[in-house]
């Protein structure tokens, strides 16, 4: 939700009264799902190490920064260890160089080389190699002009709005997504905007339009001089290009904050080549859904190639599954309750008040092959009708498709106000770590230490980390699907730029392999072409170059002699 001031919190409370009541009175949901067996897989132990690791950063500021609070994890110097960029709201954004070694997270703040004022009012960031020079660039979402930073491959950056002919606008930008459209040399960019504060009657019913920027064809450098409005905008807080119907033609999904729109809803836009974007409507099968949408996560929970979505909100999280009874229509049913993923109230110190969800991301935190769901949680500011102690969720995926909350056991139950988050393997040890940007407090850096055991921690399941390279264009394979086969289980990941809450990551794609010692990988590149199978051993980092006969094994750089 919502960038609502304390003065409007009572209105929100009224608006929510019915739904909150329903949430609190569990039976208002559908029939209670049967009690699952106790969670028996590994629960990762997250150790909060931000201070020790050298990250001291806070996202803060007035109303405009009640939302946002994201960051980016990406490699800006070619060593494949993900650096971290964190937005600060009224505070300056900060870039941290990753100096981690196996078993120890270490970051050091480094200057980013642009005007200090441009690093202020930043709400979030997404990494993407816009000009396809092999160096990661960075899109800064801001209150005011959005800024694109062109990377030099050594963690140096320069503002590139003019170079790329990008109009950063003057909006309050809170969402971003990108995709390569067929035949395009450069990506198409989508910016999601929140409340138009200058419109009469603001903030109620004054959501700004969103913007789509397509690269002009036939240019050697990206040229985004022509942009299109995505009207109407409904106060977007997250957006994601997604191949919802498995046709290879991604659409743009936008989650919107009902707090400020009038007559709005969740949105899905057709983005067809050389055509103006068009929203799916009820006649197309799109079901009206109005939530305090704040974050989108995409994941293929059942390995069938069709994505499922988690949508965070105030109160219950939605877990949307395509309803295949309606052929070729974007009709979704919510399975959050059945799968125990509503996460609608704090799992500890629950005072009966609904919680507030922001960043959402599917990932396999315990390497058991099942996707887990992380949700950053936190009160908007001081809303009395919502949980003030609102810990982040770690919903561990089970082998039966249902989730079990293990945030407390994992060490995530901190009194913070989470916003954006970065899920990445910061020390390249095969286990996913977690960085959460908190509003009004220090960012949390959770180092995944392995599974809890009687004697401390123990290693979890096997893993695989994969990096794609397409020398024919779209270098990082944005939109490509990675399909990994272990036994008769199929695991899929899609390379995306967007989603979450104002936060993006790039670099290795991580998969847990459970007990599989070997795996077979196939890539469906963004243009639909399938690779041949690549056979790889578990617990490896592999680089797959399009068209190559073999996957290449890659090894993290040793930063001290004790590392193997």
């Amino acid at each position: 939700m919502s960038a609502c001031a304390k003065t409007v919190s009572c209105l929100i409370a009224v608006a929510l009264a019915c739904s909150v009541g329903a949430l609190q009175a569990g039976p208002a949901f559908a029939e209670t799902p049967s009690e699952p067996a106790p969670f028996s897989a590994d629960t990762p132990v997250f150790e909060e190490v931000a201070a020790d690791a050298g990250i001291a950063h806070s996202y803060d500021g007035p109303w405009e920064f009640f939302v946002g609070g994201g960051g980016a994890a990406f490699d800006c110097n070619g060593d494949r260890y993900p650096e971290v960029f964190l937005s600060g709201g009224k505070n300056p954004a900060q870039l941290y160089r990753n100096q981690s070694s196996a078993g120890r997270l270490t970051f050091e703040p480094i200057p980013i080389g642009i005007e200090p004022a441009d690093l202020e009012k930043v709400t979030g960031a997404y990494p993407i190699d816009i000009d396809q020079d092999g160096n990661m660039d960075l899109v800064l979402l801001r209150v005011g002009k959005n800024i694109v930073l062109k990377g030099d491959g050594a963690c140096g950056f320069e503002e590139a709005n003019r170079h790329f002919a990008i109009d950063g606008g003057r909006d309050w930008t809170t969402a971003f997504a990108a995709i390569f459209e067929p035949g395009a040399q450069f990506p198409t960019l989508a910016f999601g905007n929140y409340v138009d504060r200058t419109a009469p009657g603001s903030p109620w019913g004054t959501c700004a339009d969103n913007v789509l920027m397509r690269p002009q064809p036939g240019r050697d450098v990206p040229d985004y001089s022509v942009s299109e409005k995505l009207k109407p905008g409904f106060c977007a807080l997250s957006m994601l290009f997604t191949d919802w119907n498995h046709t290879g033609e991604p659409a743009l999904r936008i989650t919107n904050d009902r707090q400020y729109y009038r007559g709005g809803e969740e949105q899905l836009w057709r983005v067809e080549p050389e055509r103006a974007p068009r929203p799916y409507r009820r006649a197309d099968g799109w079901k009206h859904l109005s939530i305090w949408g704040m974050g989108i996560a995409e994941g293929d929970l059942d390995g069938d190639g069709w994505p499922e979505y988690a949508l965070t909100s105030m109160g219950d999280t939605k877990l949307q599954v395509l309803d295949r009874e309606f052929e070729d229509t974007p009709a979704y049913r919510d399975e959050a309750w059945d799968r125990r993923a509503t996460a609608h109230r704090p799992y500890t110190k629950d005072e009966g008040k609904p919680s507030t969800g922001w960043h959402a991301e599917f990932a396999d935190f315990n390497n058991d092959t099942a996707l887990d769901l992380f949700i950053a949680k936190g009160n908007v500011e001081a809303m009395p009708d919502f949980a003030s102690f609102d810990p982040d969720n770690l919903l561990m995926g089970g082998f039966d498709g249902r989730f079990t909350e293990r945030g407390k056991e994992a060490g995530l139950a901190l009194p913070t106000k989470g916003r954006g988050a970065l899920v990445a393997d910061f020390d390249l040890d095969g286990s996913l770590d977690l960085l959460v940007v908190n509003r009004g407090g220090s960012a949390s850096l959770f180092h995944n230490r392995g599974a809890k055991s009687a004697f401390g921690t123990r290693p979890m399941g096997n893993f695989l980390e994969i990096s794609l390279n397409d020398p024919t264009g779209n270098r990082d394979g944005i939109g490509a699907q990675i399909v990994v086969r272990v036994g008769k289980k199929t695991l899929t990941r899609t390379i995306r730029v967007g989603g979450g809450h104002a936060s993006g990551t790039s670099g290795f794609t991580h998969l847990g392999l459970g007990v599989a010692e070997r795996a077979q990988i196939r890539i469906q590149w963004a243009d639909g072409e399938w690779s041949h199978p690549y056979r790889v051993f578990a617990n490896s980092f592999v680089l797959i170059d399009r068209g190559s006969a073999d996957a290449r094994y890659w090894y993290p750089q040793r930063r001290n002699a004790a590392e193997k």
């Binding site: 392995g450 009687a454 096997n462 036994g487 007990v515 010692e517 617990n539 890659w554 040793r558």
Partner: protein
């Protein structure tokens, strides 16, 4: 007490036993006539550090008992809802037969096959097994090799030494890789290094400045540089991994460390009504038993004529170039067998899965004390192998490549060098166990060994006979 139990107390007891925790019915509580085969209990948490000779001997005894146990349905034998696959995989439908010779379960005890010349040994053709890469087509009902590879049963004598050699070689190769990567990164240019360990060459790798490796020159080992010394194919890392796989495939006894709730969400994955069928401690006992099986020996024949022929035979063996792969011995630095071991991955108990691994010091065992050592004090393991995979079949001589399926990324005509120790007691020969004489097996060498096999065939009859005479001195021993 109910009338029923008062009339048939034994039945009542058996019923209770069937549904209670396996541990509650083992060892002390089970009557001598119990139809449970698992009658021992081992607490894995108590296995740590170097075991004394007494503790090790006790563990070995328990391991032998398990190795020879004919598992019963009361123990959890059978896997009605699980396949033989090494990754826990559910059947699409319950199996029709509790036992069957193809997809398994196909044996009552480990020693049902590993029994020649005694427990832990090899098996005749009757003990052949089928390895399948398929996960869903487990109920194949044909011998068509497109579905599986049929393999003879190997002996396990000296297996502890083999695994220790493999671990040390793995460490050598991976250390070379690390050094090469450091250099390539430091110099900013490719760094090509020869890979070798214990005198065995594994070709070369080229480390690239970007941190990746070019494996084009790699020979005889997987790209992860893990020496996998077990099975005919050389695709099993450890005795522990082999044991965990085999318990499920051949007996339907599912070790917790792979089929337990941690990895499957249930403690009865095979749906036979028995949870936690084989604990980590029991697997450890079986590993200890196998790891401690004595090293085969070269035994001097009683017959003077045989002795004389054997002397000549060994010369022929060297002259033919057989020792290029069948290395007479490999040096071993340490006889400390840690269990769990350092190389296994999830699903086989790992070093990190326990607070501290147990160390089975093979040096405590009498047979190990008799092993020869070199000037550096290293044990010379007389395995007549190199723990390396080779292409052993081609169009000129395809007999050893009698399969159509690759196995675990290893091509169909590539196998690990068979260790020759114990050869005299472990006929028949060949991967499929379908060669009844050593002469046939030698002539069957193709691929990299084609010239050696051809040279053997061209020998005078007397020299061929001498070679056989010497090979017949490689005994499992008493």
């Amino acid at each position: 007490m109910t009338a029923r139990t008062s009339v048939i107390p034994g039945l009542a007891l058996a019923t209770c036993l069937a549904f209670a925790s396996p541990w509650s019915v083992q060892a002390d509580e089970a009557p001598p006539w119990s139809e449970h085969a698992v009658k021992v209990h081992v607490d894995q948490s108590e296995l740590r550090g170097v075991l004394s000779l007494g503790d090790l001997s006790s563990l070995i005894d328990k391991g032998r008992a398990l190795f020879e146990a004919r598992f019963t349905s009361l123990d959890g034998a059978g896997r009605p809802h699980a396949t033989q696959a090494i990754i826990p995989t559910a059947h699409r439908r319950p199996v029709e037969h509790d036992f069957q010779r193809l997809a398994g379960p196909d044996a009552n005890a480990c020693s049902s096959c590993h029994n020649e010349p005694r427990t832990g040994g090899a098996g005749g053709f009757v003990g052949n097994v089928f390895v399948s890469e398929g996960f869903e087509s487990a109920d194949f009902d044909t011998l068509d090799p497109q579905f599986s590879n049929e393999r003879g049963t190997n002996h396990l004598f000296g297996a502890g030494l083999v695994e220790l050699l493999a671990r040390e070689m793995t460490a050598d190769l991976q250390a070379a890789r690390t050094t090469a990567l450091d250099e390539a990164r430091r110099l900013g240019e490719p760094e090509k290094v020869a890979l070798a360990s214990k005198g065995v060459s594994f070709g070369s790798i080229t480390a690239l400045p970007d941190g990746s490796i070019d494996f084009a020159g790699l020979e005889g080992v997987d790209p992860d540089l893990v020496i996998r010394p077990f099975t005919q194919k050389g695709v099993m890392t450890s005795l522990r991994q082999f044991t965990v796989n085999a318990l499920n495939q051949h007996h339907g006894m599912q070790p917790d460390e792979r089929w337990g709730a941690r990895w499957t969400g249930t403690d009865d994955f095979d749906g036979d009504g028995h949870s936690n069928e084989i604990s980590a401690g029991l697997v450890s006992a079986m590993v200890a038993f196998q790891a401690s099986l004595p090293s085969p020996q070269e035994v001097e024949p009683d017959s003077a004529e045989w002795r004389k022929a054997a002397v000549r035979g060994r010369e022929v063996f060297a002259d033919l170039g057989c020792t290029n792969c069948h290395r007479p011995s490999l040096p071993l630095d340490s006889l400390g067998f840690s269990d769990p071991g350092p190389v296994d991955t999830a699903g086989t108990l790992r070093t990190g899965d326990v607070e501290a691994p147990a160390i089975y010091d093979l040096a405590l065992l009498d047979w190990a004390k008799a092993l020869p050592r070199d000037a550096k004090g290293r044990v010379l393991v007389p395995l007549f192998g190199d723990l390396k995979r080779h292409r052993i079949a081609d169009q000129r001589q395809a007999a050893f490549g009698n399969e159509t399926l690759a196995q675990r990324f290893v091509e169909r005509d590539v196998f690990i060098t068979s260790e020759l120790w114990g050869l005299a007691d472990t006929a028949p020969y060949g991967h499929r166990g379908d060669m009844t004489t050593l002469d046939e097996a030698i002539r069957a060498h193709g691929g990299e060994a084609y010239e050696a096999g051809k040279a053997y065939a061209a020998l005078a009859e007397k020299d061929r006979s001498a070679l056989i005479a010497w090979l017949k001195t490689l005994r499992i021993g008493e």
